[in-house]
């Protein structure tokens, strides 16, 4: 039943051109970009035929010198200017960085906002800028492959990323000039890649319950999903956004340091050497029982058994998160029909062994664990960009961590609980505690703990202009809206006076709107005309789409939903937009006109939505009658 197809391909004046969309897996250690070609997801390679792009950026005095493989080569010689594992810092505050900053060989500084910045030869660089460089490189790879501009991307994030980390990822994409179709949780992306694969195999229409175990370089996620006829419903998710295979390396490196009798305060170069040795040893031990080590002038051996004793504690931590997610989903281990292994760190055989032991079933790993997330994202991008329609695939994801508000006494009142399906909106009413109180501070928090200080602070804002009343008389309604990307919007309104305050939650450690704009302008400064042209082109595409959609909608529904005058008004607005579209070369003018048509047609759109829900319901009721 398709009741609200505003622009069916057949009704369009001209057939839509195929659009170019990609899925990007922005990883801690490596990143990838994939697209769909003739119905199949495929990872795009660079000119040397390599699929993985190391998530490494090297800086020199005049800026970025190189990204990826070339940058990795500077690891040992120039550690302070070679930034890797930046995903661990994304959306984090300086305080977070201090707790694990010792593990990263960089020097940090903060700006006024408290966002950590890395000291490099090119000056202070934010983790968002480093991530943007990696995204830009991948987008460039795609544009070469398409020989065309990119229309949009689905970017994956760990399911356990909080609001600040998600927003930071989106900001990085904006900075790289990429249109984000959707932020997608990594385990969900993997389930899509496997799920679709599966359904083409046996055309199964029944329900299956899947656990996705995703251990990357620096993050761990687990998601429990139910798959029913193309609908992927996440039941629960959990994890640790600061635990990954890099921690295995670190545990082994720490063992090495002790064996070698080195002091605890290693210099950055020594740190790198030990970490590289540890990583190589870990990989070698996947196939052999022991490995001979030579570091500087030290020689020794590491057995597989000894390595297990070093990393088992870390793996057990991930298994506890699996159990908790099962409990949150209200399921027993035996009810899981499939377990999927994702992420490069699941290549360590010990991980698969312990996961199999927990779930009592052999995990699936038929798809390349490095690629599966990007492939799933590409499949979703293909649908969202509009190349594939009428498809039944749908993702229903959840928020990983509860969202709340600080109340009296520094406590947190949860407004939306973890594992609630998104999108979701909830509101709660609060009141003033002093006579004549005219303002209220709203402190938005995320986390499971009881005390506000133990949770992640997402934003603070004030509702001002409350008319003076006795304590407890004001009614302040605070509404939280989480969209399909898992991003939060908060508004507060005093109900007796209708005073309102609204905030798009910008993390306390993120970039401000202006900061992004100025960075964008900097990066385009030598190509300002180019930027103008691009902005105009974007508005023109938007105007065309709007004219086409509105005319089709009027054609279909004006008679039933609008009176003659309302209909006339919309036609006038459309004609004005057509004229501006044809004559204006200034993108801002066109944007304003689009905005005004959007306003004028809002009521019509609302009625159409309402009508189509009613008729969907009418359909259900009819089914009832037919059955009975």
């Amino acid at each position: 039943m398709a009741l609200l197809q505003i622009s069916e391909p057949g009704q369009s004046p001209q057939p839509h051109q195929r659009k170019h969309a990609v899925g990007i897996d922005l990883g801690t250690t490596n990143s990838l970009v994939a697209t769909v070609r003739s119905g199949m997801a495929e990872v795009l390679k660079d000119e040397q035929g390599r699929e993985l792009l190391p998530s490494v950026v090297h800086y020199m005095t005049d800026g970025v010198s190189c990204v990826g493989h070339e940058a990795s080569e500077h690891n040992i010689a120039d550690p302070l200017n070679t930034i890797s594992s930046v995903k661990r810092l994304l959306g984090r505050g300086l305080a977070d960085v201090k707790t694990f900053g010792g593990q990263l060989p960089y020097e940090f500084d903060s700006d006024d906002g408290g966002m950590p910045k890395i000291k490099t030869a090119a000056g202070l660089i934010s983790p968002i800028q480093v991530s943007a460089e990696i995204l830009r490189k991948l987008a460039g790879r795609a544009e070469i492959a398409f020989d065309s501009m990119l229309d949009g991307a689905v970017i994956t994030v760990p399911a356990y990323f909080d609001d600040a980390q998600r927003q930071a990822t989106k900001d990085a994409a904006t900075l790289a000039g990429i249109k984000v179709l959707r932020l997608l949780n990594e385990p969900t992306a993997a389930a899509i890649a496997y799920g679709l694969d599966e359904s083409t195999d046996n055309n199964s229409s029944e329900e299956s319950t899947i656990a996705v175990y995703d251990l990357g370089g620096g993050t761990f996620d687990v998601s429990i999903l139910r798959l029913t006829r193309g609908v992927f419903e996440v039941l629960a998710t959990g994890g640790d956004s600061a635990l990954g295979g890099d921690d295995f390396d670190r545990a082994i490196a720490e063992w090495l340091r002790q064996e070698m009798g080195m002091a605890e305060d290693l210099n950055p170069i020594e740190q790198r050497i030990l970490l590289e040795t540890a990583r190589a040893a870990k990989e070698e031990l996947s196939d052999s029982d022991q490995v001979a080590l030579e570091v500087l002038d030290w020689r020794g051996t590491l057995t597989r058994e000894l390595m297990h004793s070093l990393i088992d504690g870390l793996i057990d931590k991930t298994l506890r998160a699996c159990k908790r997610s099962l409990r949150d989903a209200g399921l027993e281990k035996t009810q899981i029909s499939k377990v999927i292994l994702v992420g490069g760190s699941t290549r360590t055989p010990r991980v698969g062994e312990k996961v199999a032991e927990l779930f009592g079933t052999e995990p699936l790993c038929s798809l390349n664990p490095d690629q599966v997330v990007a492939m799933g994202a590409a499949l979703q991008a293909e649908v969202l960009v509009g190349n594939k329609s009428g498809d039944d695939m749908l993702l229903l994801d959840v928020i990983p961590l509860s969202l709340g508000i600080e109340t009296m006494g520094g406590l947190i009142e949860k407004i939306i609980h973890r594992n609630t399906t998104i999108p979701v909106s909830k509101a709660q009413e609060f009141t003033t505690f002093k006579d004549g109180q005219t303002a209220m501070a709203v402190h938005v928090l995320q986390g499971e703990r009881e005390l506000a200080t133990d949770c992640r602070s997402l934003a603070r804002f004030e509702l001002r202009g409350i008319p003076p009343m006795v304590a407890g008389a004001a009614k302040i309604r605070v509404a939280y809206q989480v969209d399909a990307d898992g991003l939060l919007n908060v508004s507060a309104r005093e109900l007796t006076s209708n005073v309102e305050s609204r905030i798009e939650v910008k993390p306390s450690y993120g970039l401000g709107e202006e900061e992004i704009t100025s960075m964008l302008q900097d990066s385009f400064s030598h190509a300002r005309d180019d930027m103008q042209a691009r902005a105009l082109r974007e508005q023109q595409v938007e105007a065309d789409r709007m004219i086409e959609d509105l005319l089709a909608a009027l054609d279909k529904d004006a008679e039933a939903l609008l009176d003659a005058q309302e209909s006339q008004c919309l036609h006038v607005a459309i004609n004005e937009l057509k004229q501006v579209r044809a004559s204006s070369t200034e993108h801002r003018v066109l944007a304003r006109q689009i905005e005004s048509v959007a306003k004028a047609s809002e009521e019509f759109a609302a009625r159409r939505m309402d009508a189509s829900i009613k008729s969907a319901l009418a359909g259900h009721t009819l089914d009832e009658i037919e059955k009975g």
């Binding site: 609908v231 509009g386 309402d610």
Partner: protein
């Protein structure tokens, strides 16, 4: 399908409501049961609820509107949020009971309602003591499991009790039962939390 009639009636309806709902241009006035085409009743066929939920989200989820304009996207966001809220309320026994009473203009969501049933309160105190002693018992897992079984059985009984009161239109009694259900639901949550803590040891 009687689509035209449905649209026409919606239209007149939405006009009357337009002035009231300032913050949402969406004038969906259905109650949660109506959204899923279900009768307003305690008994909900779970499979039917699940499949209709999926069907509605397949139509109204924001991802279905990804290539459309900002207005349509926002409306889809609001609609999908409402469908999620309705589903969440109907699938949980406690929330469904609270919602049924809310439709009768009774506020059953406050935790401040205190049951006057002294025997019930005594039993609650004993259960809480039992919960606090689980950690120190010889076999905490067995102790926890037996406690859980007891609380779950009580919860089911309360649900039956609610159904009886509700069907007999004894809404004050039903409200009293909801208060008891809140105790049980909270206790079950704490049992789960403790289970997690025991695993982490």
């Amino acid at each position: 399908m009687n689509v035209v009639a449905a649209r026409a009636s919606t239209f007149s309806h939405s006009q009357t409501k337009a002035a009231k709902q300032v913050d949402s241009p969406l004038k969906l006035s259905s109650d949660f049961f109506e959204i899923f085409g279900l009768p307003v009743a305690w008994q909900v066929e779970r499979e039917q609820l699940d499949s209709r939920y999926r069907k509605l989200q397949q139509e109204f989820h924001p991802d279905r509107y990804a290539s459309q304009g900002a207005t349509e996207k926002r409306l889809a966001l609001q609609t999908a949020s409402l469908i999620n809220q309705a589903y969440d309320s109907l699938k949980s026994p406690l929330k469904r009971a609270q919602y049924l009473l809310q439709l009768k203009q009774m506020d059953a969501s406050q935790e401040s309602h205190i049951t006057s049933d002294g025997a019930f309160l005594m039993a609650q105190i004993e259960l809480r003591e039992e919960l606090s002693e689980v950690r120190d018992s010889a076999d905490p897992w067995a102790a926890l499991e037996s406690l859980r079984k007891g609380v779950e059985a009580g919860y089911l009984e309360q649900q039956n009790e609610f159904q009886g009161h509700y069907n007999a239109q004894a809404f004050d009694d039903a409200l009293n039962t909801v208060t008891k259900m809140q105790f049980s639901s909270k206790l079950l949550y704490e049992i789960e939390q403790l289970e997690g803590d025991l695993e982490d040891l």
